[in-house]
């Protein structure tokens, strides 16, 4: 395993710029996720690291080796494609053995390694099947085994879970993460799914318009976003425009003053108030500082989501679903409620940091 260093990497397609001066270091054994909406440059970045696309400028280094001009087939990265890209005319075992074959590894030794890799993904019994005879989840595991068996310097995952159904996705997410940690794989993961990024990554890179918005641990990005875009992209968030009133309050554009401990929570040029829905407490009855009316109650099973209107602002509140006999369980639209939160919970951020 190697570390990955990306230095002011830039890719232009004609007049449009897909990746704009990206700097990133992935330490050995670390899993870093590139997260962003489609067209943010995350996949282009991954393709440049794999060697499928030549960068317009900038450098890519594996450890201290500059691989910027090295063709893809000499880079020794192991990639799992969104489509899995299994060779349809080869069996699962042949797919897994392909990379070893390309490295000139012969008969018995190759077979041993293929069997080992298939065992790692619990597919030993299906090595003789063609990809079309395997389920989506099994195909995905063949793709994993195929990428790992070559002992790659770098493990690259391009939206690896997007073709799986929701239940399987949650399982495989945990499985890949466990494997990655056990084998100490230096991994670059590309995803547009924030849950995937938050659960799997050691560090997240939120990208937009070819540039990095923020880099940090999932917790840092979730709790202390740099700007409103990041706050909104890594999770649900109440974002209200306005300005700081004083040390203990933020005035929204509609004139509502919201309690916040501004000193530690304020970023430069802050003009938005960001607060996660689960940090808001809701009480029946209009007997608090912030009173409003319920607009909607959405039952989500373990959680319940309330939309509460205070003046011209609507707050999203997410709470553990109350027991059937608790007072909250009886809440319905038009009911009066009061909201409250810890003054340290909100963040004051700029709408954009770019």
């Amino acid at each position: 395993m190697a570390s990955l260093m990306i230095e002011s990497l830039t890719k232009r397609f004609g007049s449009s710029i897909a990746v704009d001066g990206l700097d990133l270091k992935v330490r050995e054994g670390e899993l870093v996720a590139l997260l962003g909406p489609s067209g943010c440059g995350k996949t282009t970045t991954l393709r440049m690291v794999a060697g499928f696309l030549p960068p317009t400028s900038g450098r890519v280094l594996f450890d201290t080796e500059d691989v910027t001009r090295l063709p893809a087939h000499k880079r020794a990265t192991g990639m799992v494609f969104q489509s899995y890209a299994l060779f349809p005319h080869m069996t699962a075992a042949q797919n897994v053995g392909f990379g070893l074959e390309m490295r000139g590894l012969g008969g018995a030794e190759r077979q041993t390694k293929v069997e080992e890799a298939l065992r790692l993904v619990r597919l030993s019994h299906l090595g003789g099947r063609l990809p079309r005879e395997l389920s989506g989840g099994q195909q995905q595991r063949v793709a994993l085994a195929r990428a790992l068996v070559i002992n790659p310097k770098l493990f690259l995952l391009d939206e690896p879970l997007s073709n799986l159904d929701a239940k399987l996705r949650a399982e495989v997410r945990v499985e890949i993460r466990a494997l990655q940690q056990r084998l100490g794989l230096t991994t670059l993961l590309v995803t547009h799914d924030r849950e995937e990024a938050l659960t799997m990554a050691d560090r997240l890179v939120v990208m937009e318009g070819g540039r990095v918005r923020q880099i940090g641990s999932p917790r840092e990005l979730y709790d202390a976003p740099q700007d409103a875009f990041v706050a909104d992209f890594v999770g649900r968030c109440n974002i209200l425009s306005g300005r700081r009133e004083n040390e203990t309050g933020f005035r929204t554009e509609s004139g509502l003053v919201l309690p916040v401990d501004t000193a530690p929570n304020e970023r430069d040029n802050a003009n938005a108030f960001a607060l996660r829905p689960e940090r808001i407490a809701i009480q029946p009855g209009a007997n608090g500082d912030l009173n409003g009316a319920v607009e909607a109650v959405t039952y989500l099973g373990s959680q319940t989501e309330y939309h509460v209107r205070i003046g011209r602002e609507v707050f999203v509140v997410i709470q553990q679903t109350p027991g059937a006999d608790e007072p909250l369980a009886a809440l319905k639209p038009q009911d009066q409620v009061s909201l409250a939160w810890d003054r340290k919970a909100p963040r004051l951020v700029p709408q954009t940091s770019l």
Binding site: F81, A85, F87, H89, T91, G99, R103
Partner: protein, 297 residues
Amino acid sequence: MTLAEGMRGKGGASAKAASPGTALLVLPACLLVLGLLIGPMLLMFRISLNQFSPTQLMIEAFSFGNYARAAADPYYQEIILTTLGMALLCTALTLVIAFPAAYWLGRLQSRWKSLVVIATLFPLLVGNVVRSAGWMALFTREGLINTALLKAHLIGEPLTLMYTPKAVVFGIIAVVLPYMILTIASVIESIPRDLEDAAANLGASGFSQFWRVILPLSAPGVAAGSILVFVLCMNTYATAVLLGGPRFKMMAPAIFDQFVRGNNWPMGATLAFMLLAVTMSFTIFGSIAFARRYRAR
């Protein structure tokens, strides 16, 4: 992947069984084939069993004597071997020339793609006779190529280009190339690009990507294109006559000679069926061998 599989993959609804009444839709086509292909062929086969006399022309008979005579005659043996050799050579050369172009076309992502496809088809708009006549102007002793080479003092005396098997090979390839290119390109188009990236990612050089991934996966297109081209080559007429000259003989012109010049319908019909038999057996054996190599894993 067959067309049917592709359609099933895209929309389940399209896979629903056709109602019995829709079977009638194939009736006109079937009638046409029965009346204008199968019927005449049966008639031809009957004629091939008749006998020929220079004075009475055709005599009713029922014998395979014509087949035995043609098969034993060194003259016809040579024509059959020439035809088969030309067809195999032209098919192989066409495949080699067409594959890179087909790959490029199949991978082309441009809004001009349909124009490129039309340009590929364009040679087919020019009839074989017109095209070959044009080549005659190019290839004769006083033709453009010889004149240019002589003027440039690259050669001392004119080259013999016309009326050689080489001229016929070039002529045939120019005719059949579009069929091969378009057949293979449509299969290449259906091979996901990711597969090449995946192969590269696993350490495959450009050549290995081609040899281990692209070529095996385009096998159905290679097979279909080769069969199509082989059959066209076996039945070459105008190109063989116009560029090969009077002494170069292939089957189709020989059959024409028997019917029209010799008035020998029984022998013409016999040769026609021999051509059909050789073409079909090579096509079928070729397909089986190919299927064994690529489809059985």
